[in-house]
């Protein structure tokens, strides 16, 4: 057992290193425990030469280590120097396996059997976890690697990839590139590839069919030898040549390890974080959590926290966080003058959803939020505007314009704007300030984080949103009190894509409201399901059953993964009985729908093939995932001559890179869905963007502002493969010069060869590139404008599938 230290820091990433450096500068006895033989393993494993960005720009760096945007080697080199200069005590190969004891005397055991004693622990282990190791004979040989940094490092090798999750498949596809001339084998223990994304599996199968790799299912490694690998297959043991083994067997998330120390998390969800005090102390006194594990994935945050946490441990309670200046700026415009912590406390006590939020979380939410003072009558947002932020009323009250000359107040402490937050759709009503007051606008990401980490906030937001959604739908004379019983019995149900919610012919009187996602309505006509309509989020269905008591007259199923709110028929009927206006409005909606149903039925009788085509086209569009699209590019292949002018126009309207692939994608009845962004209701790409630069713009477009760090999360998260990681090519010569002299690349994306020649040795940073619907270009989407034959159009699914289409087709 070694000398007891004041603080042991586990993990030598940006957060841990910065903490250890501060301890070194302060002269605190400390030890930095790193499981590998180098600092900052996550960044160490980046691709060679990868640029590391220093976002957020407005945040100042407060650390004894240097950090500015630069190549991976430059940053790691700096940190090695800084660690030495700051006299950091580092223990390499110290893989912590167990922590026992309490504040003042923690015992930290490592895999090698060493035990370190420390008064305090700073946990800075990030979120990557430890990769699962191979377990067969010879599993400790050095040619087994657990990560492929750069596929180009492997040329003309026999490579076996073990594990067929997404990571394994992506690595195998990377090294199987034809130019690298590797012989690649991928092993899967079971028969199918259930753990991987469908796109990856199909890419792999295609590579297998093309002879680029061999795929062995129900196969496991049995024995590893230099140059060879023994496999256990269903047909007995097989020995194959193998120079490199890439083991991608998943990893153990650090959560289990963290919980084993007794640290509590904010909830059971995957997004939950350890509960922390304002000084980063966890629920176990003496253990502090910082960095990505604490929910801060950006390097600068991590480094600042490393500095701060050691200052706190050293007894510096007067330290103001590095973000103090930024928070002060956020509150600067308010009429009253208060200090930052007073403002935070003011908001926390006055807004109900902030009640359970810790001061530390409060600081973070506010950094992503805005606070503004509104005069009575000021418009906060207009109906129909896009927007996904959440508003909270800290002072005064808001007025919702429900109908002409009819407003509903929202009291102080409550929230509004939650519909946009949950469904991703446009604002449902205009909101004005009812009196002079202060409103907080929380960004969508911050609000989602709040809901994930504070269960109380989530419940409050869900209930309010449900009430509001119902008030919106059944407008006119309905009050929150009327809705009480309906909301109390309501349940939120998740419906996976394709699942049937209502079945035609069945008895039932529950009413459903689509909270997010979308549904399709089908009716069995002549033994074939016929598409009747598309229901976007915010619609309701099932009301015919309540009013008529008849069996369901159509089948409703989810077009994409959706959430519906189920209201019981009984409570709904009571509400209708209490409010005749609402009953009348509902009956009107029912009549309209019934009329449309009978219209389609009548057409089916006379124009059967047209109705079938309409229905099949609708099914195809839904199958292609357009049910979650808000605006998609559709090409009519009866008109498309394949000139690719759409792609060229796209490239020339942006930084020389096309955001669409015309030829790729599925086709049905000459209707082609090319690979291009659909601007989903709930964009998958937005889900995990560390610098938070993907937003929804005023026309509903999902776009990327500058600040992409090139991590590729969005590209991986997009199920439609429409995001590219690419560096902008250099400026092309002018069009006239090309037309007159023929030199240089013409319209469209320049060839990689030209770009390479032009750039020489320079390797610009690859960042995510996606369609922004030609945001800011007054003429609108270039792909459509540049189509010479009218083959390319942009549509929203409900407009494209409107009844008018069928009407025209059959007339």
């Amino acid at each position: 057992m070694s000398e007891p230290v004041k603080v042991a820091i586990i993990g030598s990433g940006p957060a841990g290193l910065s903490a250890a450096s501060r301890a070194g500068q302060l002269g605190l006895s400390h030890i930095l425990l790193e499981k590998t033989d180098h600092l900052s393993d996550t960044i160490f494993k980046y691709q060679k030469g990868k640029r590391v960005l220093a976002t957020p720009e407005r945040l100042d760096l407060r650390s004894d280590c240097r950090f500015a945007e630069g190549a991976r080697e430059y940053i790691l080199g700096n940190w090695d120097e800084d660690a030495a200069n700051n006299k950091v005590n580092i223990a390499y190969h110290a893989d912590v396996t167990e922590v026992t004891g309490a504040k003042g005397a923690f015992a930290i055991k490592t895999a090698k059997g060493d035990v370190y004693t420390a008064e305090n622990i700073v946990l800075a282990i990030g979120t990557q976890g430890n990769p699962n190791r191979m377990r067969c004979e010879g599993a400790d040989l050095p040619h087994i690697i657990y990560q492929v940094d750069d596929p180009e490092d492997f040329k003309d090798k026999h490579i076996t990839v073990v594990g067929s999750g997404d990571a394994g498949i992506e690595n195998a596809l990377g090294v199987a590139e034809e130019a690298l001339e590797n012989t690649v084998t991928i092993l899967n223990r079971s028969k199918d590839f259930a753990r991987a994304k469908a796109k990856n599996v199909s890419d792999m199968m295609e590579a297998g069919e093309n002879g680029l790799m061999s795929i062995r299912t129900e196969t496991q490694p049995k024995k590893v030898e230099p140059g060879w690998l023994m496999l256990e297959t269903p047909d007995g043991d097989v020995k194959i040549e193998c120079d490199v083994i890439v083991a991608r067997l998943g990893s153990v998330a650090p959560r289990g390890f963290v919980e084993s120390m007794g640290i509590e998390f904010t909830g059971p969800d995957r997004e939950a974080f350890p509960k922390l005090s304002p000084t980063f102390e966890s629920t176990v006194p003496g253990i502090f959590v910082i960095g990505a594990l604490a929910g801060y994935p950006l390097i600068k945050h991590c480094m600042n926290q490393g500095y701060d946490v050691v200052e706190f441990i050293n007894g510096n309670s007067g330290l103001t966080p590095a973000d103090e200046k930024d928070l002060a700026a956020i509150f600067a415009s308010l009429p009253q003058k208060k200090s930052v912590s007073e403002w935070l406390e003011y908001l926390r006590t006055r807004v109900s959803i902030f009640a359970d939020v810790s001061p530390l979380q409060m600081r973070e939410f506010m950094l992503d939020s805005k606070v503004a003072f509104y005069r009575k009558g000021d418009v906060v947002f207009e109906k129909g505007e896009p927007g996904s932020s959440l508003f909270a009323i800290a002072d005064g009250f808001a007025e919702v314009e429900v109908g002409p000359d009819f407003t509903v107040p929202i009291e102080q402490g409550s929230i509004f704007g939650e519909v946009g937050l949950i469904s991703g759709r446009k604002r449902g009503a205009t909101i004005r300030a009812g009196a002079d007051g202060i409103f907080v606008e929380v960004s969508r990401t911050a609000a989602l984080k709040l809901m994930a980490s504070v269960p109380g906030a989530k419940r409050a937001i869900n209930r309010i949103s449900l009430e509001r959604q119902l008030l919106q739908i059944f407008k006119g004379g309905l009050t929150v009190e009327d809705l009480g019983p309906v909301v109390d019995t309501a349940e939120v149900e998740r419906v996976p894509a394709g699942k049937v919610v209502l079945t035609e012919g069945e008895q039932g009187d529950d009413v459903y409201v689509i909270r997010s996602g979308s549904m399709v309505v089908e009716k069995d006509i002549g033994g074939k399901p016929i598409f009747l309509r598309y229901l976007p989020a915010g619609s309701f269905f099932g009301e015919m059953g309540v009013l008529s008591g008849q069996p369901r007259n159509a089948t409703v199923k989810a077009a994409v993964g959706s959430e519906v709110i189920k209201l019981t028929g009984e409570s709904f009927r009571k509400m209708l009985a209490a409010r005749p206006q609402v009953r009348a409005a509902t009956e009107a909606a029912v009549a309209e729908r019934a009329q449309m149903n009978s219209f389609i039925e009548s057409r089916k009788a006379t124009y059967s093939s047209a109705v079938d085509l309409y229905s099949d086209t609708a099914s195809f569009i839904m199958k292609e995932g357009l049910g979650e699209a808000t605006d998609a590019l559709l090409i009519d292949e009866n008109l498309c001559v394949g000139c690719d002018n759409c792609e060229k126009a796209c490239a020339d309207s942006h930084e020389g890179l096309s955001r669409l692939d015309r030829e790729a994608g599925k086709t049905f009845a000459h209707l082609h869905v090319p690979t291009s962004c659909r601007h989903c209701e709930h964009p998958h790409c937005m889900a995990d963007c560390p610098p938070n630069v993907i937003h929804r713009g005023p026309d509903g477009e999902v776009f990327m502002e500058t600040g992409c760090i090139g991590c590729g999360n969005c590209m991986r998260n997009c199920p439609y493969g429409v995001i590219r990681m690419e560096a902008a090519p250099p400026e092309k010569p002018s069009l006239l010069r090309w037309l007159l002299t023929g030199f240089g690349p013409g319209p469209g994306e320049p060839s990689p060869k030209w770009t390479k020649k032009k750039l020489g040795d320079e390797k610009p940073k690859k960042i995510a590139v996606k369609c922004d619907m030609c945001k800011g270009i007054s003429g609108g989407p270039a792909c459509v404008r540049a189509c010479p034959t009218g083959a390319a159009i942009r549509v929203s699914p409900e407009e494209f599938l409107s009844i008018a289409r069928l009407d025209e087709d059959t007339d």
Partner: protein, 293 residues
Amino acid sequence: MASLFQRRRSKATQVERVRERRHEGFLRYAGFRWAKISGGLCLLIIVSYALIDVTPRHNGGSWYGYTLGTIGALLILWLTALGYRKRKMTSDHWSLKAWTSAHVYLGLSLIVVGTWHTGFQLGWNVHTLAWALMMLVILSGLYGVIVYATLPQALSNNREQMTQMQMLEAIRAFDRQLHTAAQPLTPEDTAPVLAALDEDPFAGGIVARLSGRYPNCATSAALRALTLSRSSDAGAREKVVGLLKQKEAALARLRQHLKIRGLLEIWLYVHVPLTFALIAALSAHIISVFFYW
């Protein structure tokens, strides 16, 4: 429909302006707007030609002839500008479909404008050369309109959701499999297979490309040779024959794809150079007319 969120906005935004509910081809654009305009123009010319009495007779040098000539020359220049418009991605609102529509119908109207401009006086001179070139340009354009209207469907049907790259990749994949499968064959059987492997799917020249006929196709030759051969092990040969059949089908798809694309593009190699020849002849025609005024 009961919906919370109205997608349609009262005020058309930039995106809304180009958003349509359904596809409408360039020929039908805006309810045949340009067909009507150019048809009207032709009718006006034909009627006025008959009504207006020019002495001694209609010819290019009368005031009426000059008017038609000016209209025609300006039209030709404007029609040529489509090539620039198509490639210049300015940010203002324009639709290439509308331009194409106007290009087609106004281009067709040139038949009347140009011919009536001559007063039907044709001869062996630079003036008639300009007229003839113009007619050839229009004729090649007419071919373009016809293939644009008829071939895209065939292109779509043939490719069956495959991209050109995928078609090439499929052929390469069969080549790799053939390479392995042909190992056990005898040398005399291997030779035609090797020839098939060496075959460049793009070889064959313009005639083969446009006709889709490749009489010297090494894959077909190998297939014929191996079906008749009795020299190698039957099982191995059968496997190679199967692969050759698949490769032949993949080649046929690619060749059909290239053929249709070729037919969709080839006319531009006539249409565009002839347009420049026309502009040259037109310049000569105009200069000579003014020179001999």
